[in-house]
Symmetry: C2
Subunit: 198 residues, 2 copies
DNA sequence: AATCAATGACTGATAGTCGGTCATTATTTG
DNA sequence: CAAATAATGACCGACTATCAGTCATTGATT
């Protein structure tokens, strides 16, 4: 009876159109009016597609992460050793091409910590569990192949969270230069300990 | 002259008086007027002692962390094994008595990620480095005593950040119940690997 | 009288709402 | 079948409520 818009697609379009604004200025320094202008729609329209400013950040992170993870899965499958696979898993935290994405991820974490609804927490939990299962599968595969000791599976959770740990720690200090070296050293050392000597 | 107030003490008094408000509602859901009322001063007075709302959170975290760490140093010195010392280091993240402090710490991290000034980043960097040095010293002591392998020192940074990692990861999911078990398992497993067999 | 502390009314900015308009499609009618 | 009309979702921006932060004034002390 009337115009029917692909709501999901438009949500994506709006989110992506103001991505650079978020990266450049940060959520606190942008107004909804600016976002609307950047997206080429009216202010009210923004609220037809998003609950609030934070919701836009969630959408941006979702879109970009999905894109990123599509290639990640492939790269992990191509890697041969468990160590190499695990390193790719943390690639996001130091890949120079992903600096922009990390900038938004920072906002995302900040929001998630203090302002996320039950819905969003549920979503985060699901996402987290899916990735953790994937991570465990990689480790288990290494164990089954006798590349690493069975004990390594007990390190899964602790290893899984070190990406976040390094990221938060470095971001809070304002020094994100050397995450790669830090993560690499840690993983190399862990692998020295858990690798099965042939 | 005129009335001379102990500015530093009053800053502390104001900060502590609204601590519970921050814990109960979170920074986003409190107004400066509420804070002023809770502290029993005028709104303008708040701005004589703090730059903004975020600044109050920094003060609260500083005060409470300082209190907490005073006892922490002692407890670490009392512990005999390196493993026990390291576990106490992460006590903050799961000690049931510190749930309130963690609630504010959450706000603190959230702010630090996206809104901290150069000054505050500098401060965070200093604090971080001091704690990291302490952490390394504990590990080094264990190495010198031949409790753990020399290699363990390369795990320092990665171990140091797992507290933050678990905290962020669990907080984002809204499940802070099992951090203790997770950290304990991780540390126990790491120590199985780095302990020197006698 | 000089000086510092405290204050709360005021201002500017902005998040979020809501009544109304417009464009498109469905339905009716000649 | 074409024109007229009805229905509806998309879109909008003026408006409102709220609140962070300021500053001119008052009050207290020596």
């Amino acid at each position: 009876m009337a115009i029917i818009v692909d709501k999901e697609q438009k949500r994506i379009d709006i989110a992506l159109s103001c991505k650079d604004l978020f990266i450049a200025k940060g959520i606190k320094n942008i107004t909804i009016s600016q976002i609307a202008q950047e997206a080429g729609v009216g202010k009210g329209t923004i609220y037809d597609y998003f609950k609030n400013k934070e919701d836009i950040v969630f959408e941006i992170v979702n879109i970009l992460m999905a894109q990123f993870n599509a290639t990640k899965e492939q790269r992990i499958n191509e890697a041969t050793s468990t160590k190499a696979k695990i390193k790719i898993f943390f690639d996001f935290f130091y890949n120079p091409d992903k600096a922009d994405l990390r900038e938004i991820f920072k906002e995302f974490v900040s929001i998630s910590l203090t302002q996320s609804s039950k819905d969003i927490q549920e979503f985060l939990k699901d996402t987290h569990e899916r990735y953790y299962a994937w991570f465990c599968a990689i480790l288990q595969e290494g164990i089954d192949k006798n590349e690493i000791k069975p004990l390594a599976i007990d390190l899964a959770k602790g290893l899984f969270v070190i990406g976040d740990g390094f990221f938060i720690s470095n971001t809070m200090k304002g020094s994100t230069q050397n995450i790669k070296e830090e993560i690499t050293l840690h993983l190399d050392t862990i692998f020295k300990l858990i690798e099965v000597k042939q």
